[in-house]
């Protein structure tokens, strides 16, 4: 644990600009995937609105900093608040709809948020997106990936703490009970509607904050950055990582974020790589699809499920080792 922290804190000293940028992307993805894990992996509610929620956070920063000159200390809590508000709206359909129907309703809300955002862009005549000036904290301007690294790390750790604290208390148990059986949960005294909405609110709020950080980090907010593919990527993170596990959410975020770079690296090792460069996008999407299918078929428990299986095999054979050692 301490070793991990030392590694995370010392990383900027040895890492290149490119590696730091990748790390920052991973931290952002970790916040979003932890949030989605609470909603889907624990409370059992499916959502495809993640792109819309990230966009909501980014647009909150864009509007507040551009039109009102608001500082980082205002925009971040404001984006958390707008996320929470959207969470109530995203959550309302969950009181009536389940499974794929719920997913479709959240998808509709995704498009509404993106629509409102692009409307803002056109009316403010920010034709190709809103440019956001880097925030200044304590007289220090956050511009380089190195400066952002600690900010992103801090928010990722906070997201982890909030999620872990909720999960080990009453709320976490209520969510898992709802995922298992709503009727039974309700009959045992759990206000199912309330806890579903709470799950949407917490998830949406965390995700919007990730979106706000993303907006600042990129220095640029545009509706095109938040396609429906983002929602699919986040769903992939929690599936590949392992449903119902926070560590799974982190592993999935690392994997999905690093994956395109890995594919690119592999592709350029091939002979005739220069021609292949055009096909990079297509290869990327295809490889991503294949990985998703492989996980869904062979290891629906994701990385965490895989690890548990290996660990179980090792543990069950362990007593023999002990017995042999005794004799």
């Amino acid at each position: 644990m301490i070793g991990l922290f030392a590694l995370l804190l010392g990383f900027p000293l040895i890492a290149s600009q490119f590696q730091l940028d990748l790390a920052n992307q991973v931290f952002l993805a970790v916040i979003g995937s932890l949030a989605l894990m609470l909603l889907t992996g624990y409370a059992g509610q499916i959502s495809l609105g993640h792109g819309g929620l990230l966009a909501a956070g980014a647009y909150t920063v864009a509007i507040l900093s551009k039109d009102f000159g608001a500082s980082f200390w205002v925009t971040i809590p404001a984006s958390a608040l707008s996320g929470a508000l959207l969470g109530v709206i995203f959550g309302f359909p969950s009181l009536r709809l389940r499974g794929v129907y719920l997913a479709v309703s959240t998808l509709a809300l995704h498009f509404i948020v993106i629509y409102l955002g692009t409307e803002y862009e056109t009316h403010g005549s920010y034709d190709s997106g809103v440019i956001i000036t880097p925030p200044v904290l304590l007289g220090y301007s956050l511009e380089s990936p190195r400066a952002w690294y600690f900010m992103m790390l801090l928010f990722a750790v906070l997201a982890w703490l909030v999620a872990a604290n909720l999960l080990r208390s009453k709320t976490g148990r209520a969510w898992r009970a709802i995922r298992a059986n709503e009727t039974v949960a309700e009959a045992l005294g759990i206000g199912v509607s309330r806890y579903k909405l709470l799950a949407f609110v917490v998830t949406s709020s965390m995700t919007a904050v990730a979106g706000a950080l993303f907006g600042y980090y990129r220095g640029f907010v545009s509706g095109e950055a938040f396609s429906i593919f983002i929602a699919i990527q986040y769903a992939a993170m929690i599936i590949i990582g392992g449903m119902g596990s926070l560590i799974g959410a982190v592993l999935g975020a690392v994997f999905v974020t690093a994956f395109p770079y890995f594919i690119e690296y592999l592709l350029f090792m091939l002979p005739g790589a220069d021609q292949a460069a055009n096909a990079l996008f297509a290869v990327n999407y295809a490889a991503f699809g294949v990985v998703m299918i492989v996980f869904l078929i062979f290891e629906p428990g994701g990385f965490v499920g895989l690890w548990r299986r290996i660990a179980n095999r090792w543990v069950t054979s362990a007593p023999n080792v002990v017995a042999v050692a005794r004799t």
Binding site: S169, R173, L188, G189
Partner: protein
């Protein structure tokens, strides 16, 4: 003063009439067995009391109307229940399952949980200690930390019973607690139910198919058949009742249900 008063409760799904004008009452400290052939409407009656189905008629618990309330509100009023197939929460330990049953007794809010405030942690510890006592009461300390999927069906049903007790209910609805249990497990269960009744003096309504257990434990028996009450009274009388025997066996002269 009756704890539970059910008056003219009827329930239908489309053209199917599941309950027809069922009336009965139960008092504190009483064990009322609810029996009847399959499809008689026993579980449906439970679901009406705990608010899962909305019935017509009147259901009063400790003077408060239950019809129209949400199930979690009814549970918070003190109505605890178990389920025919245990319905434990998988991927949770025995302790967590029983703690979940105590949900309505927690006061701290989501903010104090997110920040893991000391007051919230103290509350959690106090509830955990209480739940550990309940687990000891049903003699399941040996599996306290085990995941519930790894337990036998019989043990799972006892965990379900402990989960219902965790809310400190003033009335318990037990849906076929002994179904699927071995002889030994049934004896343990009967022992726990009696101990609960003695220790807490609460009203227990319980659906049961094991007539020997009914005859041994029940203070009164309510018999349902195709949604109607056909008998209600002390075991000796009810189990010899002509209408009851007919419902169970088809007309047999001189027979008894036990």
């Amino acid at each position: 003063m009756a704890e539970l008063e059910v008056e003219n409760v009827s329930l239908g799904f489309g053209g199917l009439r599941v309950l027809r004008e069922v009336s009965f009452s139960a008092v504190a400290g009483e064990m009322l067995a609810l029996i009847g052939p399959n499809g008689a409407g026993k579980t449906s009656l439970f679901n009406c009391i705990s608010g899962i189905y909305s019935a017509s008629g009147r259901i009063r618990f400790r003077g408060q109307d239950l019809i129209g309330r949400k199930p979690h509100e009814i549970a918070a009023l003190g109505v605890g229940r178990t389920f025919q197939h245990a319905e434990l929460f998988p991927q949770m330990s025995v302790l967590e399952n029983v703690l979940t049953g105590r949900h309505a007794r927690f006061k701290s809010g989501a903010w104090s949980e997110m920040l893991s405030l000391p007051a919230m942690r103290r509350e959690e510890d106090a509830h955990r200690a209480h739940v550990e006592r309940i687990i000891a009461f049903v003699e399941l300390q040996w599996v306290q930390g085990a995941m519930v999927e790894s337990l036998s069906f019989g043990t799972q049903k006892i965990v379900g019973f402990a989960r219902a007790l965790a809310a400190e209910p003033t009335m318990l609805l037990l849906d076929e607690p002994s179904a699927g249990l071995t002889r030994e497990e049934r004896e343990d269960l009967a022992h726990f139910i009696l101990k609960t009744k003695e220790a807490l003096g609460i009203c227990i309504v319980w659906i049961e198919h094991d007539m020997q257990m009914v005859a041994d434990l029940a203070d009164r028996i309510l018999v349902l058949d195709v949604g109607r009450t056909i008998a209600c009274g002390p075991p000796e009388a009810v189990l010899r009742d002509k209408a009851v025997i007919q419902a169970y066996l088809g007309a047999v002269d001189g027979a008894s249900v036990t």
